[in-house]
Symmetry: C2
Amino acid sequence: MIPRTAIPKGVRVFTPEETARRRAVEGKLLSVFQRWGFREIITPTFEYLEVFEQPTGEDAGDQIFKFVDRQTGRLLALRVDITPQVARLVATTLRQAPLPLRLAYAATVFRYHEPRAGRQREFEQIGVELIGLDRPEADAEMIAMAVEGCQAAGLRAFQIDVGQAEVVRGLLNALQPAPAVRSRIVSAIRRKDPLELDLLLQEVPGDPGLLETLRALPQLYGGREILDQAARLHFPPASRAALANLAEVVTILENYEVAEHVILDLAEGHAFEYYTGVVFGAFARGLGYQLASGGRYDHLIGQFDYPCPAIGFTFDLERVLAALAAAESLPEVSGPDVLLIDFSPDKRAAHRLARLLRDRGLAVARDIIKRDLAGSLAYAKASAIRRAVILGSAEQPPETVLVHDLVTGTRRTLPLGAFVQTVAQGDSPWEI
Amino acid sequence: MIPRTAIPKGVRVFTPEETARRRAVEGKLLSVFQRWGFREIITPTFEYLEVFEQPTGEDAGDQIFKFVDRQTGRLLALRVDITPQVARLVATTLRQAPLPLRLAYAATVFRYHEPRAGRQREFEQIGVELIGLDRPEADAEMIAMAVEGCQAAGLRAFQIDVGQAEVVRGLLNALQPAPAVRSRIVSAIRRKDPLELDLLLQEVPGDPGLLETLRALPQLYGGREILDQAARLHFPPASRAALANLAEVVTILENYEVAEHVILDLAEGHAFEYYTGVVFGAFARGLGYQLASGGRYDHLIGQFDYPCPAIGFTFDLERVLAALAAAESLPEVSGPDVLLIDFSPDKRAAHRLARLLRDRGLAVARDIIKRDLAGSLAYAKASAIRRAVILGSAEQPPETVLVHDLVTGTRRTLPLGAFVQTVAQGDSPWEI
């Protein structure tokens, strides 16, 4: 018997402190997106399963929470990925909208994977899609925004690993290994495992130059110079075009003055089957997981019968928060600004003062429980409230306000009239 | 065969315009809550079914979206109501937190009811819970916040209907009608159907004075004077205590100077089995549905083994938006502030100018597609972008900025240096 208070594995309730931190980081990321001209959309929490049943590179099918629609008998699925929902929106409601479209979202997605560090079964993605452009300028815009997002979130030491899905795909298409071997090769390249890769490639017949290039890929990781190293290797035309595309993107990123955060990684083929061009991931120093990831997916919207190139990426909020925690850079949060305590029997002065302070934007909780001043102050302190504003206590003359700063422990008694006037003028009442 | 673009009944995708309106109203409501000292929490989208399987007055069981947890085989349920989740949080994680607790939330809930005007199967609730106080001050705080929420959302003509669940419950407990008759009586009282009520009460034996009071209840609707009218009727002690409680709440609401928005309704017993005291609902003039509803539920948290009084209420965002639409008071929204168009081959000036404008808080989309100026301006206009800022076009001298206002159609050419300096100083570049 599970107690009624039990919470299912992999989901969480967030306390006021945790929620304030989440909203702070979410707001900073959405603000970056908004200032780059991206507009938020909202998608439904569940869909017909078919919307998500597409090759996504990851084996999403097993991860989907499914249930039966009681009325139609059809299978519904909790949102496992927001990008297909955006693709469907673009192909239907927004089909007549002028391109490019810049869309943003912040929403939780649901996956049945095993909970592990920074990964829940319900977790929030905060991302963007830039739709209708297949130019390197679009790729560079995404990567520059990922850099700015990391900075806005408060991360100091981070890097963006940038690859191009078509580099590896071009090589494999030219070599044509058996499908089972192919996926093991991809995995070995991504894990940068030269021994495993070498063993696998011994079984693959084909152009020795191309095989040599595949063997070299895990080492092609670094600054712009690795594109020069790559130029000396043997590539099929599709891979060469991908390298040329990557070089263009890097040039634009240099113009953006963000190239210092970018590491090229020719072995990067993240979520391989999904992406069709530039792919990238953001990492915090010393942490092995991606805080953000994305790439170009020029064929997805076409699956909704509206062929249209697109690129997008998303921050994983749980991982960003974990990275901020590891760097001791979580945003500081606190309780309401003021606990307003009124001991006089007629509470009208408290009502008016509360309204004035709130109109000024301050968060004012009223102490409407009956207790003594010491009790009220202990409550304020335990509730992370910065200041108590006290009316009508035995410790102050009539027509005064007693301001008790709970952080410094200092107290000041001020004339009620002057206090009210200061607040009404829009000035800070703490600096009278 | 349902097309892959189909959306399940009762859920929606919101376009950028719709989303901006939702976020605007949501932000205004959350801001009211925050300024009253309430702190947001986040609850999971699904729970073990048991969390929601409690008497809620409404027959929630049939409305719940259920599915099986693949690993435990237990039934999970999509969030049908946030209050039980808050109750569980208070009884567990926050059990040691000092009382009262002021908690807020904004989240979607899921109900299998038939979609009708302003009601979806996934819809957003924006609400608060005030936990740990059973005093009329707490009830009044909730109602005053409901008034302020309506005002902040932009509603002009609205009222809050306030009742007390124990008035009707006290009468019925004294009369003890058969359970089936009892629920029909409650329904007839709520619908203010005197004929039906009269027919039902003819079957009920008991004190004629109490029966007479029940018959009179649907007429007890109006200002404070109905409490005087009620004082002349025959009530059992529990109902009298409820009326005295209501009178205290009204007195405090008069002190809050919000009584003009309040209508007393002694027939109100909203979601009867759930609530244990004051109940209320917000209505817009001319619309028959509640924009917000709530009440006191002193027994719910106790079901999670932590007896604790509480009162809460929630706005239904879809209905608030419908009321704003009916009153032609929806918030105005627009696209990004600026489309930045750069025809020069080297885009570094555009990158820097975009960064400057964004640092100033402006939403700046860059036109990174290759097209002529007329095409770019048509795009800006269709995308609801207010201004185009143009660099390097054939229509302007070098080292200038051409500012094209798409609303007024006016154009100005400004020296690039002066424009940059104005923005860098934090002044508006539109008023040079």
